[in-house]
């Protein structure tokens, strides 16, 4: 029962707890330290290491028990630091030392409980047989890939028959929980480019350091709880009790008078541009991956390293991958020149490595941008005017072996160049999102040929769209850098606010009007109106137009069999006169 509690006393402090926990957890809540090796919140307690031994008094019986798996009960009196407990712990730790004494965590534990010279010697076996890994594999991963084998002094943790496991899902939970670091996952420290995502590579993580809201999110596709119905370790470990596995995606309907569309962009996928070798050569990466690599909060802590963990000696940055290219996008993505300069600066600053910038034209047009370009020239980055043509691993000379060869035409020198480098960064294009069409349809927008949303007028109405009250901000309208995006966003917000604050909108004079004298009440127009602006007046037997709903498309005007509807500014007389006019 959730509302039932039990009261026990630990070292003289009374505490009221739920009846289904163990003494160790109750002590933790009081802030009383009990040493333990084999306990992990969320996994079934095991009592293997036994160093959490405490003295319990129940009635007249006093005895030593392991606190991690001794359940609490009413009136229980616990002592964690009596002479008897200390002696018992010291012996336990000495016995642990006999096999594992040279392992860091055991050494430290020995110091903590006052064992200076273990009587039974010091061994160097890292596995203390606490069984945490076995429990993690069974309870978290539900993989049951490892277990105990043999008995007595022969006992070890291993896979069945000591063979490579078929059921291991390579989740790494066993290595993660191991208190002594006895389990090592091969390749876990290697940087894998296919996993160099924008966020950290854990199933629960804060997507980026700048995320809004800045809270972690669960990735159901990676999370063991969802994948294998196991784990669930994060929930009991969350002090705020904020983790809820039952949460589902939900559709929220919001009623709004104005909308700012800021759906952004996606980056060009260079795998289709095979000549750059992206996906084939591990050290060819996109700009966004390099951004992640050089980020202090990234997977390498900001260290610029190749896949093998070594720092590169030379780096080539290829501009205009997917931009200014007839095969992909004809437009200039505007931001790549400047971030490529930033990359060159970072490589020069952090590694002092040789950096090549392969550009078509340097477009450093913004405030302070040209000066930055100038600075890079002085910092020793090597600029080659010519688009990178191909990345291969084909070596001609001996010193080119193991390097990536970047081919390009140096149009200033008028020669073909082959550059041996360790790492290639592709400055990929910004392109319209693949789902931009859905947004376009939803809001009745227009898009230009390249897929970016079209503003109402490039000079006079740069944030408005053809739909009233819908505004554009940022890269959904076209590639732009952060200052431009912020400026456009502010403008869009101001436009939206000016509508909201006024509380009313001005209608154009153009709308349909029904001449009641002529209207026969046939109601053909009622069905046609996409805005339901035409209603039928039962009393007068005529149709009526609601002027504030009417958008003046004129569909009803064209359809009215009695000619009773007049489309203001586009009347029949006006258009017929226009026809006569153009045909004179």
């Amino acid at each position: 029962m959730a509302d039932e509690t039990v009261t026990l006393t630990i070292d003289g402090h009374e505490i009221e707890v739920e009846p289904d926990i163990y003494v160790l957890e109750a002590a933790e809540r009081l802030g009383i330290w009990i040493p333990t090796l084999c306990n992990y919140r969320g996994l079934t307690p095991f009592g293997a290491c036994r160093v959490c031994t405490v003295e319990v008094t129940k009635g007249s019986r006093v005895r030593l028990v392991t606190s991690c798996n001794y359940p609490v009960s009413d009136g229980l009196v616990v002592h964690t630091n009596t002479e008897r407990v200390r002696t018992a712990r010291r012996i336990l730790v000495e016995l642990l030392c006999a096999r594992h004494g040279k392992v860091g965590i055991i050494k430290q534990l020995a110091e903590n409980v006052g064992v200076t010279k273990p009587r039974f010697g010091e061994g160097n076996e890292p596995c203390i047989l606490c069984g945490l890994c076995v429990r993690a594999c069974a309870e978290m991963a539900k993989a049951y890939a490892i277990g105990f084998s043999q008995r007595g002094t022969e006992k070890i943790v291993t896979t069945p028959f000591d063979e490579e496991s078929e059921v291991c899902i390579n989740c790494g939970a066993c290595a993660k929980v191991c208190p002594t670091g006895a389990i090592y996952i091969e390749g876990a420290d290697e940087i894998r480019h296919d996993e160099l995502m924008l966020g950290p590579n854990a199933a629960i993580s804060v997507p980026t350091m700048q995320a809004v809201p800045n809270v972690p999110a669960l990735d159901a596709e990676q999370c063991l709880h969802f994948r294998r119905d196991g784990c669930g370790i994060c929930a009991p470990n969350c002090p705020a009790d904020a983790i809820d596995y039952s949460m589902q995606d939900e559709e929220v309907e919001v009623e709004a008078g104005t909308v700012v569309i800021a759906t952004g962009f996606q980056t060009f996928d260079p795998t289709i541009a095979e000549q750059y070798g992206y996906g084939r050569f591990p050290n060819v990466m996109t700009s966004i991956e390099f951004e992640r690599l050089s980020n202090a909060a990234g997977p390498t802590g900001g260290k610029i390293v190749m896949r093998n963990g070594e720092p590169p000696e030379s780096v080539a940055i290829l501009h205009c991958v997917g931009s200014r290219d007839e095969h992909y996008h004809r437009y200039c993505s505007r931001v790549c020149c400047m971030y490529s300069l930033k990359f060159a600066h970072l490589v020069r600053e952090k590694l002092g490595a040789r950096v090549y910038e392969l550009y078509i034209d340097m477009r450093s047009f913004g405030k302070g941008y040209e000066e930055f370009y100038d600075r890079l020239l002085k910092e020793g980055a090597l600029f080659i005017r010519g688009k990178g043509a191909e990345v291969t691993d084909f070596a001609i000379l001996d010193e080119e072996k193991g390097k990536l060869m970047v081919k390009c035409e140096d149009t200033l020198a008028g020669v073909q160049r082959r550059l041996p480098v360790d790492m290639v960064i592709l400055s990929v294009a910004l392109e319209a999102r693949s789902d931009a069409r859905d947004v376009e349809r939803m809001f009745n927008l227009c898009a230009s040929e390249d897929g970016f949303f079209l503003e109402q007028h490039p000079k006079l109405a740069p944030v408005e769209t053809t739909s009233d009250g819908v505004f554009l901000a940022g890269c959904c309208q076209g590639p732009k850098d952060i200052p431009d995006t912020v400026a456009q966003g502010s403008a869009a917000a101001a436009q939206a606010l000016s509508l909201i604050l006024r509380g009313e909108t001005t209608l154009s004079g153009a709308h349909a009007e029904i001449n009641e004298e002529l209207c026969s009440g046939c109601r053909v127009c009622n069905e046609l109106c996409p805005y339901n602006a035409i209603t039928y007046d039962e009393e007068k037997k005529v149709s009526k137009v609601n002027e504030s709903l009417c958008k003046a498309c004129g569909t009803c005007v064209a359809a009215c069999p009695s000619g009773a509807i007049k489309g203001k500014h586009f009347t029949k007389e006006q258009i017929l006169a226009e026809i006569e006019g153009v045909l004179q």
Binding site: R441, N444, S448, F570
Partner: protein, 157 residues
Amino acid sequence: MSRFEPVIVGFLCNWCSYTGADLAGTARRHYVPNLRIIRVMCSGRVEPTFVLKALQDGADGVLVAGCHPGDCHYQEGNYKTMRRMTLLKRMLEQLGIESARVRLEWVSASEANRFVDIVNEMTEQIRALGPLKLGHFEDAEVSAEEAPVPAQQAAAK
């Protein structure tokens, strides 16, 4: 003898086709000067009467252009046009007017090139058909592909 220059009246919707034509202009794209444009808010505003009036007053062809299906600024005005134009073309055939003289096209605001291509192509097509002769359709030179059957049928009846 100088080349026959057809006169084409174009009804362009304000949001897609007119903007597309405008873009063709700002992009300095060249196209034949035979099209005379009338702006309407929606292709759905185009009454069949307008097309007939244009043909009656001397146009050799009429172009009606609107947003692509599903893209209408007024949600479904272009669908209404689509139905009306199909019926109108049938009626024109019965009157002995080649259906190719009236054309319904979808041109979006970004499709300046498409707009230019359509205007050029349509002008050539109507140039091939020759001037529209109302009231003398028996004498009109009708090409083998373009609507000879209804014209003959109409004459036979």
